[in-house]
Amino acid sequence: MVDQQCQDEKRTIAEALENEHVHKVYDQTAHYFRNARYKAWPKVGHFLNSLEPGSLVADIGCGHGKYLDINKTVFTLGCDRSAPLCSIAQQSGHSVVVSDNLRLPFRDACFDVVISIGVVHHFTTVQRRAQALKELGRVLCPGGRLMVYAWAFEQKHRTVAVGFNFSKRKMFWCRGATNIKSRNPSLLHKRYYHVFREGELGGLIETFIPEMEILESFFDHSNWCVVAQKNGV
């Protein structure tokens, strides 16, 4: 009973932190992405372009949709927690759904490929990062492939994470904080990141999605990337 209360309390804190330092920040800075010309990362583009024509792809945490039209021979559905970002993606002609990575509103095994680029690091507890990854695995069909990118601890530009101490219920800024310049330069929006150590992302996938086999693991653009495949044909 006490354990349950503890769990509930921790969940409430995690949700509040993600709401304030992830969801609100993206909603408030969405307009910035509308005009910014973010380039697709080449390795993600290459992965998408290597897919079989007619593949059904989900981009979970699609943001303004920079990966949604890389490969015109597949159908890519974008999902994001931020309605303003989904709206920008939709205005570029993409198919999007506002949804939560922890509870993806899709039937089991319906996508051939799932990508998650820069998303899982926004969850504030290991349980929530695991749950987010489990959901990605659940919606993949047998034989389907997953590509995940998450922020690495081992990077040159250590202007990364905002930490949070659950026992003290205090937020602390470790190794600086990432800021997005908003239109008003005096405003800085602080986003929460968990930084992954080498092997941590693959380890989470192996532990929590045993039906996935890791095909590749590499460092790219200050992130750890894992490509994995779901068992079965």
Binding site: L56, R81, Q90, D100, L104, F106
Partner: protein, 124 residues
């Protein structure tokens, strides 16, 4: 929202909902858009979708026309059939309306073509 997207959506993320599929569609604005027809793409897409759900969704919006209720085994060679399938999968867009959970009647709004599937805390 395209009917291809609808084909994958479920409301079983709501606490207590077992299946949540398919979601009913209540549409106040449906638009038809032109999408280039690619028969190979459609042929590969058909085995991945739930045909009955697609047919019922198209029918409920009044866009099924003469799309067959059941798949013919030789559909790959049937260009007319592939064109009709292309139309309902990709060209019919629900702009405004609701997706309705078949078990709880909970409504998920579709606004400017985007379904919002976020839940409230008490639904988790």
């Amino acid at each position: 929202m395209k009917l291809l997207t609808h084909n994958m959506l479920t409301s079983n993320i709501i606490k207590g909902v077992k299946n949540g599929y398919p979601l009913k569609i209540s549409a106040s604005d449906v638009q038809l858009i032109d999408v280039d027809f690619n028969p190979e793409f459609i042929t590969r897409m058909i085995p991945k979708i739930n045909w009955k759900v697609l047919h019922e969704a198209a029918q409920s919006l009044g866009h099924a026309n003469d799309l067959p209720a059941e798949l013919n085994a030789e559909y790959e060679a049937d260009q007319e059939f592939l064109k009709k399938t292309h139309h309902v999968l990709l060209e019919v867009e629900v702009q405004e309306g609701d997706l309705i959970c078949p078990e709880t009647e909970r409504k998920f709004p579709i606004s400017h073509g985007i379904p919002n599937m976020l839940l409230k805390e008490e639904e988790i």
